[in-house]
Symmetry: C2
């Protein structure tokens, strides 16, 4: 998408034809800076220090990390070391392992001489594939916004939670892809952006990327969405998902469930945008998903730009008050109006989902 008129992806090949460039997302929303990755160590650091985040982008960065490793030395030992080094950066990221295994499986049978070119080709393919999936989600979801606009003949108000935008992927994003498509097609859209405590990905990242692309939006606290829906100020809610069970229960950033409840109570359609790889076909129900409890520091401390322009962390809670920090919640399928996938929109139910992806459902 665009940053002040200039098209960007979150990761791209440098002008030298071999180094890799990324956006340092830890500096957002105050500073837009790109960083050059010239080694597997640079790539590993970018992932572990969260300069890049979001499952698809982590996978893409790891793939390019393998390419950088091959360029420095394409032996079997280097290949294995790079795989292990990159995998250790964020051990629980499913997409990271998938990208590294894909790269290793492709490169291992090749003659070391052929590995560098093949690695760069495959990394680029992984990036293009992700962007293609997200763009397809955008095109499918665009139909929903178009229909709302035709019915209303006025600005369409959307609400989103967390960051499921292009910054979390290679391009387009998931939940935000239909919104970019609508905006670019000239449909007047406006996005209510949940700040998304505790890590504030909405306030910091979603607001930034919408603003830089020129999409009208308003940042709100997570508490506000219910009232906005009660008073007719939201036409549709759309979020991403970290993991969706086979029956369409949606595990996503903590607080998503509350917005789905409010949407249901007020007759506001609630959609979830997801690339099919985030569907866990082996999981019958969302209630089986273990919810990560993260550190209390994310609740008690918050980072922002201080009076001198530098980013500082401040403490919000009394010394000694215990802190709880469940990172995700599960929105039951009954509250989900539909799932927006790269193959089309479908109801959040086992049969319909398996019907749309028969080969994936069968394989599970």
């Amino acid at each position: 998408m665009k940053v002040d008129g200039v098209p960007y992806r979150t990761i791209w090949l440098g002008q030298d034809g071999w180094s890799v460039e990324i956006i340092d997302q830890t500096r957002l929303p105050y500073h837009f800076e790109t960083v050059r990755l010239a080694s597997v160590d640079d790539a590993a650091h970018a992932i572990s220090a969260m300069l890049v985040r979001g499952a698809p982008l982590i996978g893409a960065t790891a793939a390019y990390g393998m390419a950088l490793a091959m360029r420095a030395g394409a032996s079997d030992a280097t290949l294995q070391a790079a795989h292990d080094r990159l995998l250790a950066t964020r051990p629980t990221a499913v997409n990271l392992r998938w990208a590294l295994d894909t790269m290793a499986a492709l490169l291992r049978p090749l003659n070391p001489d052929a590995r560098v070119a093949a690695a760069y080709r495959e990394a680029a393919r992984i990036c293009d594939e992700d962007a293609g999936i997200c763009e397809a989600i955008g095109n499918n979801g665009l139909a929903l916004i178009t229909a709302l606009h035709e019915k209303k003949n006025d600005r369409v108000n959307l609400l989103t939670h967390c960051n499921a935008g292009w910054l979390a992927t290679v391009d387009w994003g998931t939940a935000l892809a239909p919104i970019y498509k609508a905006h670019d097609a000239g449909i007047p859209v406006h996005v209510w952006v949940d700040e998304t405590r505790p890590r504030n990905q909405g306030a910091a990242l979603t607001a930034w990327e919408l603003g830089r692309h020129g999409v009208p939006h308003t940042v709100i606290v997570d508490n506000a969405g219910g009232h906005l829906m009660q008073t007719g100020q939201v036409d549709m809610a759309i979020t991403g998902t970290d993991r969706t069970s086979a029956n369409g229960d949606v595990c996503n950033k903590i607080g998503t469930y509350l917005k789905a409840l409010a949407a249901h109570d007020n007759g506001v359609p609630f959609y979830v945008a997801l690339p099919s790889p985030t569907i866990d076909w082996t999981l019958p129900r969302g209630s089986d998903i273990p919810i990560e409890e993260r550190g209390g520091d994310e609740v008690s401390l918050i980072a922002g730009r201080g009076p001198n322009g530098e980013v500082v962390r401040v403490q919000l809670t009394p010394d000694g008050s215990p802190l709880g920090n469940p990172a995700f919640d599960v929105t039951p399928a009954r509250l989900v109006t539909g799932l927006v996938t790269e193959r089309g929109i479908c109801a959040a139910s086992s049969d319909v989902l398996a019907g749309l992806f028969p080969e994936l459902a069968r394989a599970a």
Copy 2:
């Protein structure tokens, strides 16, 4: 309630027998400091600069402000000037006007010589009356927690939103009064404290007062409560209210509605504690209540204790991103299990509420 073992109210007469002491709530939760009010100007500043907040405490401070004014000079002109000066501090506070009108109506007919003593007496009476109402709410709500404990025979987990504790009143609080009563009676309780963005009264004030009194609690982001209810970690939710319509719709801090939805979806009882003066008998439905839209700075900027120990404000959102800040929402009566009043617990419905307060309902 207690601060580290020492009993406190939020406002009390100084040892000299005429000055008034308060807790500077702008310094919480990092510093516990009391401030001496020696003039009507001190009292007006305490209200306008929000050293005191919460409707009952604002009213009590204004009443003592009138007493301080009388002590400095008890003429009719002084009386009127003090009334007007104090009323201008927070013009929309209903309780403030009520307390000032009560004081003025009592003092005006008196001989100036008699006004000082009468003013101090009346201010003390207003404080005692408020503490008595809150304690009655506490005793009535205690029955709910006792019943939960008897049924469960284990720690009772409560969830609250914003600050409806003793810091918002003269003593006891409203939503927290039953919790203090239960804790003091030896019932094991634990409170999930919503941080309550954007002003964070939960994280700053509720957590502080529970902690200092020794009540087990955990601070969470506002997004977390739904998940906690889904997973059986909340036995009852209880909040305060700023204004309740005659049919039992509850206007309270933004986000209350989302918690009520989650409670309803999970069969968790959802109670609202309220002194009868917060019932607006002239208002048939909560949807008629205009919702205050406050400044966006409350969303984009947040105050906390910085690395050097001083309180600083930091910016959370990108420059230029528009901000929305509705301050309250309305929880429909259908989601409210019951109202905890000073006269007892009742269903949130016009008939039942009017039956409990027949003289107030008739007068409206």
